[in-house]
Each structure stands twice: as C-alpha cells, then as structure tokens.
C-alpha cells in the first residue's frame, strides 16, 4: 500500500511538471515575450532592453527559465501578471474558490441525479424509466456545453426571465446565479454517471451471488440496495477520474459563457492577452487540482476494492 501511494505521488508530480513545461515551452515558441512587456515602439533603449531581458531571465535558455520558475513557484512566488502587474499567486487564488464552488455544485448534481437514475434504469430494464433515462444520458453526452449554456440563457434569462444570464451572486448559497451554470456543467457528468452506474448495476444484478440472495428469499429492495448497489458503486467511484476531466474542460467553457469569475474564465483572458506568467499559474493550479483529485480517487478505489493490485 505504501508503495502504491508513493507511486501515485511520483506520477502526480510528473504530470504537474509535464503540463507546466508544455505550456512554458509553447508560450515561448513563437514570438519574443519581451515585446509583450515593452514594445520597442515605446522608446526602450538597447541597454534598457538588455536590462529588462536580464531581469526577466529571457536571455537564458528555456530550460533554465523553467527551473527558475519552478523553484520560485515552490516558494510561493509565481511572478507577476503582464497586464496589471499583480502577483499571479494572489490573482489565481482569488479566483480558485469560485471555480471549486461551481465544480463542486455540478459534481454533486450529476452524482445525485445520475446514480439513482442509473440504478432505476438497470433495475427496471426495458421499462419506460430505462428508455427515458438512457435517452437523457445520450442527450447529455452529445450536447455541446457551450450551446446548452446559450440555449438555457435564451430560455430562462431572455425569454422567461427566471434566472440571471450570468455572473456570480454574493455568498455561497446564491442559487439563482448558480443554477444555470451548474446544470450546464453537470450535463456531461450526469450522462456519464447514469451510463456507468447502469452498466455496473446490470452486471452485478446478473452475478451469481445476487441470484443466490434472491434464491434465499431476500427481499427485492434488500437485494438491490444491500447486495448489488454497494458493489456496483465501485465503478462510478473510479470513473470519477474521467468525470473530472469533463468538469475541468467544462469549467473553462461554462465560466466563459456565464461570466463566472473563476479560473477557467481567467484562463481565456490570459490566453488572449498572451499573459504567460498568469497562464502558467492557472495551468499549475488546474493540474494540481486535477491530479490530486485523481490520486484520491485511485486510493479510494484501492481502499474500497481489495482485489486491486497495489504494485
């Protein structure tokens, strides 16, 4: 078990380094970043330019720049944003709670709706519930989130004026602002959970021990919830890794559409301004968020299912 955890940890570190390294290289691949700081048109002298270049370490090879960045980041200093010269770490951590807020809401919604529907559609296989459930899962898998968001805005904000079209409300429990982005973001995750639960549940219901339980005369609800459901839950739990990718990709889109003040929205602005210190910080946080969640899921999986190999 200890080896397993260690391995996950090394893997997590490796992912973070690779993601930030990729962005680091790419954002320097084309064009001279110095021009973003000081356009030569602004009358920067040759000496001034050289000094600035030296201060920003742009005269060093990219690998050196990266290791310096990594070293500073580990001590909490992630540099300044290009646009308004604020510390990246502060700007990003200001936005981080909003992203987690929205992501958690969507995660809970898709879990709470998807899993019971999956169980229902497996237990009543071939019934109207099954068809409706699977139909919605197919919809959720196929609908482009950016389009769903716009359609929801069109209907609920423009046409019927029930919910606001965007922005985040004050406080944690401002459901009015939260509901449209959450539904949009949860659409993919819900479909995923519903399908994966249904498949797992069907498999378990078909297994020998469930049949034995039924043969012994255990009541239907006991069979479903005590014998089958507990085991069927393993797969949705491990599938969380995949679902998290949905939420990560989705948060960039959904935050953008609903003007949600989170990291994803800021990322797009950073890309458009080519604000690479900021982008670097966002990617760093995103990857940490993602990798730590997947690591926890994997450990959870190993804990729940004793059959998994630890090596």
């Amino acid at each position: 078990m200890r080896r397993f955890i260690l391995r996950r940890f090394v893997f997590a570190l490796f992912s973070i380094v690779l993601a930030t390294l990729a962005v680091f290289f790419i954002s320097r691949a084309a064009g001279d970043p110095l021009l973003l700081y000081a356009n030569s048109g602004y009358g920067l002298s040759a000496e001034g330019e050289a000094a600035l270049r030296k201060r920003l370490l742009l005269d060093q090879p990219v690998v050196v720049q990266y290791s310096v960045w990594l070293g500073r980041t580990l001590t909490g200093d992630m540099g300044e944003t290009i646009l308004d010269r604020k510390p990246v770490s502060r700007v990003v951590t200001q936005r981080l709670p909003s992203t987690i807020h929205l992501g958690a809401a969507a995660f809970i919604l898709s879990f709470v709706v998807g899993i019971p529907l999956g169980v229902l559609s497996a237990v009543r296989r071939g019934s109207i519930f099954d068809y409706i459930g699977r139909f919605f899962a197919l919809l959720g898998q196929a609908v482009p989130q950016f389009w769903l968001g716009l359609v929801l805005i069109l209907l609920f904000a423009v046409q019927w004026k029930i919910f606001p079209a965007g922005l985040k409300g004050d406080g944690f429990w401002d459901i009015k602002h939260l509901i449209l982005p959450t539904v949009t973001l949860a659409s993919g995750g819900f479909a995923f959970y519903m399908r994966i639960t249904r498949t797992a549940m069907l498999q378990v219901l078909d297994s020998e021990y469930v049949r034995l339980a039924r043969a012994k005369g255990v009541s239907n609800s006991m069979v479903i919830w005590k014998h089958a459901f507990k085991n069927a839950l393993i797969q949705p739990l491990t599938g969380m890794t995949l679902a998290l990718t949905f939420f990560l990709t989705g948060s960039v889109l959904v935050e953008n559409i609903f003007a949600w003040p989170g990291m994803g929205n800021m990322a797009i602005t950073a890309v458009n301004n080519n604000d690479f210190p900021l982008l670097q910080g966002i990617v760093f946080f995103f990857t940490i968020l993602f990798v730590s969640m997947t690591s926890v899921t994997d450990l959870l999986y190993a804990y729940i299912d004793p059959r998994i190999r630890y090596d």
Binding site: A29, Q141, P144, F146
Partner: protein
C-alpha cells in the same frame, strides 16, 4: 437505444425469436416500425447520411454562399422557406459573367425573380450570411478535421497499444504511464495556448487544428488495443506461430493485429462524436480554424452577443453539432453491442 446481443444463442432463444418474428407479421404498421427502429440504428444512419452528403457535396447542397455578406440582411429572421414578396431580390452583377450571352441571360433571369425561397431558410447571421449554408459548409469542416485527426489517432494509438501489449514489461509500463499523464494534462488550455501562438500568425491553420485534435484522439486506442493484445498474445495459435519461428514483427502483423480490428472499429466509432465535440469546442473558444471558414463552433460563438435578438445564429449550428454527435454515439453503441459486447465498460 442499445440492443441486447446474445453471445451464445440457445435453441430456445432462436425458436423464441422465430416466434417473435412470426408474431411481428401480424402486428400493426406502427409497432413494426417501432421494432425496426429499435433493432437497427435507422435514425442515426439517416442523420449520418445527411451529414456525409452535406459534407461531401457542400457546394451543391448549400443554397447560397456561406461567406458572402449582405449588410441589408443582418440578423434576418428565418423564412422557413416561405416566399418573401416584400423583399425583392436584386442580383449582384459581379456574380455574373456579363461578357457572355449566357451570363447576361442568367443575370436577367435573376433580376426578374423575387426573393428566392432558398434564401435565409434558417435566417441570416450578424453579417447577413446565410445560416443554413454555413451549417452545411460547417459539416465539411468538421468531417475533414475529424477524419484526419481520427486516422492519425487510430494509427498512433493502435501501434502503441500493440507494442505495449505485445512486449509487456518496461515498454508497457512506460507507455501506459504516458497515457495516464497525458490524460491528466489540461488539454483545453494547452490547445488554447498553441492555437494562440500559431493561428494568429495565419499559415497552415487547418493543420494546426488537426494536430490539436489528434493530440487527444489516440489515448483510448492504446488502452483497448493493449487489453486485446494481452488476451491474443497468450492464445495457442500465436504460440504455435512463435514455435514455428515467426519473428516478432510477423507475429504482430499477421497474428495479433487482425484480432484487434473489431475493437479498433468500435473504439473509433465511439470516438468520432467526442472528437467533433472537441473540434467545435476549440472553434467556439477561438482556437479553431479562423475566419472566414464557417466552422460550427465558431458560428455558435458569432451569435453569442446577438442571442436576444437573433437566436437562430447560435442555435442552428449548435443543434447540428448536437444531432450529429448524438447520431454518432448512438451508432457507436449499436456497433459495440454487435461486434464486441465485452467493450461495454467503455462508457
């Protein structure tokens, strides 16, 4: 809806199905139709056929030019094919070759026409471009980009999967960790950065987008093909070939690879939809093929600021993505249940 496939049909089941078929003959037309729709993916096939026709023959299918702007018809409402007598259509002389007699007569014919029914069936966008034509041409872009990206994904992914499964050990370990790490990268941000760097400079935009999609296309192939190879590798016929002195390359190509074809086909069919979604997401965020190419995602984003007064600009391209992806997923599910029910885990 997905079909249940009995892997081993017993005599009972076969006779049961015959009875079902016989009973079917007596059923009403409606229930026979429902049976057909359930058994075969008719609706997805229909949508996919339309997609292919629209994509391959876009110049013929599209009622007008998808790029041509017409400021008089900005945010023009969908006509739904009705005749619009209140709008007289004046043709642009530049569109006709007035040097030749046939050109002149075509121009005169066009001048006498009123507003054509084929114009602005689904409305016009903020620059007066025909939404329907843009949706039709968008099919072509999506198909093209996805086809290239998927092909490269299939080749790279299957190759890596073959190698990982066949050689095992360290090779396997390294390749599978690579896949894990790859899936942990915040792809959309990396794609945005790459697109920002390259697309703004013009150049081979289509190539960049294909490359971006190909970056995510390959991973499921590695996993599934590897899993297949692990089973096939241990089979007697492969052992026999090895004993007979076949080389590794020969073993892989002649004996192992053919066994993975159905898996590759199923994974590919389930992947297409996701890739189309990825492509449209990128183009929505401005990291797709740049103007004036009418990609679906970009059309949706064009209409964003006009959502209150001209919902059709965003709605129809998005709806096209939705329909196509749904049809493809549906079809992929069906194919999987037919060819390889083991792959159910793939959800």
């Amino acid at each position: 809806m997905t079909q249940q496939v009995e892997t081993q049909e017993t005599a009972d089941q076969v006779s049961g199905r015959d009875a079902e078929v016989r009973q079917l003959v007596k059923r009403s037309v409606g229930s026979q139709a429902w049976y057909l729709v359930r058994r075969w993916p008719l609706i997805p096939l229909f949508i996919m056929t339309i997609l292919l026709i629209a994509g391959i023959f876009s110049p013929l299918v599209a009622p007008s030019d998808p790029i041509k702007q017409s400021l008089a018809f900005r945010n023009f409402e969908p006509t739904w094919g009705r005749a619009m007598p209140e709008y007289n259509f004046t043709p642009d002389p530049a569109d006709y070759d007035l040097e030749t007699t046939s050109g002149v007569s075509a121009y005169n014919r066009a001048k006498n026409k009123t507003f054509p029914r084929s114009k602005y069936i689904l409305g016009a966008d903020n620059l007066g471009r025909d939404v329907l034509s843009r949706v039709v041409w968008g099919a072509r872009i999506s198909l093209k980009v996805t086809a290239y990206a998927l092909t490269s994904g299939v080749i790279i992914g299957s190759l890596l999967g073959l190698v990982a499964g066949y050689f095992g050990g360290w090779t396997d370990e390294i390749l599978m960790r690579l896949v894990d790490v790859w899936l942990a990268l915040p792809f959309i941000l990396i794609a945005l950065v790459i697109a920002q760097q390259f697309l703004t400079q013009g150049g081979a935009a289509e190539g960049v987008v294909v490359f971006l999609i190909a970056l995510v296309a390959w991973t499921p192939f590695v996993r599934q093909v590897r899993a297949d190879v692990l089973t096939i590798r241990g089979m007697d016929y492969v052992m026999a070939a090895r004993v007979a002195g076949a080389s590794n390359v020969r073993l892989i190509i002649r004996h192992v690879l053919p066994g993975t074809f159905s898996t590759i086909l199923v994974v590919a069919s389930l992947r297409v939809g996701q890739l189309i979604l990825t492509e449209s997401t990128l183009s929505f965020l401005g990291a797709g093929i740049p103007d004036p190419v009418p990609a679906w995602g970009k059309s949706v984003s064009d209409g964003r600021q006009f959502i209150e007064e001209a919902w059709w600009i965003s709605f129809f391209p998005g709806f096209a993505i939705f329909l196509v992806v749904m049809a493809l997923n549906f079809f992929g599910d069906w194919l999987r249940d037919r060819l390889d029910p083991r792959l159910r885990q793939l959800d």
